[in-house]
Symmetry: C2
Subunit: 325 residues, 2 copies
Amino acid sequence: MKKTHLLALTFVIAASALADPLPSWNDTDAKEEIIAFVDKVTTPGSPDFVPEAERVAVFDNDGTLWSEQPVYFQLLFIFDRIQQMAPEHPEWAEKEPFASVIKGDYKQALAGGHKAILSLAMAAQGNITAKEMKQATRDWIGRARHPATGRKYTEMVYQPMLELLDYLQANGFTTYIVSGGGIDFMRVFSEQVYGIPPEQVVGTSMKARYEVRDGEPVIVKEPALDFIDDKAGKPVGIYQHIGRRPIFAAGNSDGDFEMLEWTTAGDGPRFGMLVHHTDAEREWAYDRDSHVGSLNRGLSEAEQRGWLLVDMKGDWTTVYPEQTD
Amino acid sequence: MKKTHLLALTFVIAASALADPLPSWNDTDAKEEIIAFVDKVTTPGSPDFVPEAERVAVFDNDGTLWSEQPVYFQLLFIFDRIQQMAPEHPEWAEKEPFASVIKGDYKQALAGGHKAILSLAMAAQGNITAKEMKQATRDWIGRARHPATGRKYTEMVYQPMLELLDYLQANGFTTYIVSGGGIDFMRVFSEQVYGIPPEQVVGTSMKARYEVRDGEPVIVKEPALDFIDDKAGKPVGIYQHIGRRPIFAAGNSDGDFEMLEWTTAGDGPRFGMLVHHTDAEREWAYDRDSHVGSLNRGLSEAEQRGWLLVDMKGDWTTVYPEQTD
């Protein structure tokens, strides 16, 4: 390293230490609590110091890192896939919930509840290779736009949470996505948008098999659920994939309750946070009675459990990143 | 950084570049091929250069990183657990395969084949918490000795393979264990012996559930198989856990065939290697007809597939590390 480079590096380090690591967070208690936690676990000699290998942070995705209204975005991807696949499936025209999806009547399609969603998900994402699923996700992410905002889905992420991910990563944390969403779907954009590589994504998964097709080995996604990474499944997914208890967990709904409970019940310094959707103007306002991302038990127990409740309206200066097109 | 430190660092880097990274490997083709591969994927500007994030190396464990004779070591752990648990299970005295294990007649216990092994494994490792399993493994690893060598199991690892792991890690590879052995069992010593953290261990796993016991959240291992990480299961385990295709795979048996096939069929530079157990004097000699770690198809196809066949007897100067006690 040349001396000038070394000096430049020193300067960059000094400057970044002074800069606000969370510029899209207002100067409220929330920001202060986060920074105080990161400071204490990263300060050598502090009684709360945590070695880098143990600095595991887990993040829910839907409603925590990006929006989840009017429905989980992956469902819109699934609707889109069904419509694209329809010409090859003439039998769908007479069969619910497929017929309603093809007609664009999503409300009717969802009237069948979980069973209907599952059959759509398996049809859209089963019997294809992992590579085909990756490509389909990439295509959709590249062209699809949110019905209410007109934004790309990759720009429906929360700017303050992007900063939080960066801040934790810069402080030696390994950040994982632990999502109820599908693991293949999540992996495609996690690296690009969150700087989180595929091996740090835990999600709901379908069964898969390995086979050699015309001499080419492939992973085939089978049309059957393997693991549901939601509620009590989240700590199990963390145990199976990571094998360590995190020290930091962020969620937004009761689907994240057990993940926060598991994380914050460990010894030593722990941090649990819930994003509370309080901003009907810049995003959506919902909690206990929402059809997606319902936050009920978490809202009642956050205070007694010492979890930070982030008030989207009051704690964030902005919600989404600047729109690029 | 002080100038003297910088100079010292430069010196260390220069010295380590000159030192032999694989001192327990003879100067045969095997060593040369490994080093040539690592050189080409790590040399910036080389047409075969691979960015660090893509330098994923996967290693089987039994027979590849440590011995597997007379039986897989985890089976000896299971026998030990059954004997320890026996006083609480008087019904086992009359019930096979438990009765034979309690009597120390392992041959008879294994006469029941896979079904017998599975029932022992589920009894020994099911209905306990992940924490209890960790502790039981740690206790056993700390005190148990191999029946033939008298060594601790952590000293039944192959010194040349420890050097290979170090060498790859020093060259920006992320090294994973992808074992047919149990994931909890593997994770306990992988970090200590191989420098591989729990999140980089893929293994056979049992179903698990999350529950809160007297206010304390726990992960409970259920007495049921969830995933078998062997043969065609290995590429599936890699896909589920890592989400990337490795560029380097090491195994020793036909249980690793699909992992090597999947790894080496990808585009760009790839490396597959099989440890061939040829050393009856220093370890064991076995291949096609072995009751554990049978290497048949792999032995027949290694050459045509361009996989390195490591001759334990000829390619390694030593097998095990120096014994500490």
